[in-house]
């Protein structure tokens, strides 16, 4: 048995009287791509923020073991508007070769030549690609993504899914990918966790081969299973 990269046990988080995470526990192996889906308010973002260590002001208890090298991909690209694309990618890094690495990361997301551009001059998809480069240049063992493509249009979104999938294959970080889109989860993930009312309602390994086609009947069955775990009626009369 391979040792877990991420280990969560007895994790609870509360906002006032409301329990948002209720005694959650799970492991994630190195290189595993986990999609976290759930309705609004199911606690998926709260769980991700807990893993990212961005919830110091939230009440709760539990154990979280995460690797030191982790990156966060936010829903908005969250680029500093006053820094160039390149300086955004290298933000907080000090190694001697960081600029070369950043240029290569930008190349890998299809943005070489835009190093000196201002973030505001880029489209939404391009900005999110810069954010992806900023995450990957840190060589994370764990990539935490909070609905990173949620604000993009459908076409850009498909391209970003492909890009993320390919890059994750190369860099092999473990990924926790929050989304509300069941199909996005099924296209990308090795494992899908469905959250409901602050608990993990379903933890399902997805054994389909890549590339995954939505026309595949197995894909269809899994989607129905996940949707019903989310409490959505699939039948349309």
């Amino acid at each position: 048995m391979e040792q877990a990269l991420v280990r969560v046990a007895g994790l609870s988080r509360r906002f006032g009287a409301r329990t948002v995470l209720d005694d959650i526990g799970f492991d994630i192996r190195a290189g595993e791509f986990v999609a976290l889906i759930g309705k609004s308010g199911s606690g998926k973002s709260t769980l991700l923020r807990a893993l990212a260590g961005l919830d110091a002001d939230v009440a709760g208890e539990g154990e979280i073991a995460v690797p030191e090298h982790r990156s966060v991909l936010f829903q908005d690209s969250r680029l500093l508007p006053w820094d160039t694309v390149l300086r955004n990618v290298t933000l907080g890094l000090h190694d001697a070769d960081v600029e070369d690495r950043a240029r290569r990361a930008l190349e890998s997301v299809g943005l070489s030549g835009r190093e000196d551009a201002w973030p505001n001059a880029l489209s939404g998809g391009e900005q999110q690609r810069v954010a992806l480069a900023r995450s990957l240049v840190r060589k994370p063992q764990l990539l935490l993504a909070d609905e990173p493509f949620g604000a993009l249009d459908a076409l850009t979104r498909l391209r970003m899914q492909g890009l993320l999938f390919n890059l994750v294959r190369i860099h092999r970080p473990a990924v926790v990918f929050v989304t509300h889109d069941v199909e996005e989860a099924l296209v990308l993930a090795d494992r899908v966790m469905v959250m409901d009312g602050g608990r993990i309602a379903l933890d399902r390994r997805i054994g389909l081969a890549h590339p995954r086609k939505k026309s595949n009947p197995q894909f269809d069955r899994l989607r129905d299973e996940l949707l019903s775990a989310l409490g959505v009626e699939v039948e349309i009369a």
Partner: protein, 319 residues
Amino acid sequence: MSASTGTSSTAAGLGWTDGRAADGRAAAAAASTAGRIGAGHAAGGQAGRAVEHRAAASRTSAPSLVPRRLGAWGLAAGPLFVLVAWELASRLGWLNPRLLAAPSTALATGLELLQDGTLPAHLWASAQRAYIGLFAGVLAGLALALAAGLTRAGEAAFDSLVQVKRAVPTLALIPLAILWLGIGEVMKITLIATSVLVPVYINTHAALRGIDIRYVELAQSVGLSRPEFIRRVALPGALPGFFTGLRLAVTMCWTALVVLEQINTTEGIGYLMNSARDYGQTDIIVVGLLIYALLGLLSDGLVRLWERRALSYRKALGA
């Protein structure tokens, strides 16, 4: 309306083509980076053209929700109209020259004073006071804002004091300032500095306190140290606020002079205007007013130019 609809559907069509092309390439694999860059540039060019089209359309038909930018002449329209009306009123005899001189008379007087060296001497004296005071005040305001915006001790120590200063008019401080600092230049410069300190402090401090919490999270997630956070996030984030304060300050430093130059001095624009009042020389008073206006506009223009360069990353309305 139909023109702009047509343009936007064209733009959407271009985006669609670009999207499918790049999608295919992404599936092909990573080697085609160069091709994708090409597509990106092409898309950028098309987007630029689409924007131009839309601007052209709005000029003819579609109502624009934001005003288009005024050129230099457009901005000058208001003042020019006032000048022309004023001149006409003087020429037609509606304005008594003992109460208000015509702009042309003031201009002639101004040129005369300029040639005989009176005006440059007064202007130099005033400019020294104003700009030394401005410099000191901006530095002090900036230092206090940084201290109060970045540390709790600084906020506890300075914020309320500056708010109190803000509530007290500079002119009301003159009697005390004279008792403490005398009636010389030090008193005048100190009062100018304390008045320009306020807008610089208020705006810079507000901008520092208003740093987007999302950037703070980002800084946490990439592990920025506190000095790095201040340098990379807090200071650049506060820069727009600082410029707003500076624009207010560059005109404020001159307004304080008018009153201060009534005290124990025989040179300066304020002195010139006040002595002109004693002799009923309204043309000289108007010269002083025009100089204030010109200096104010000039200073503001310079700061705006600097601001536009420093904040060139912004693409905002009217920027």
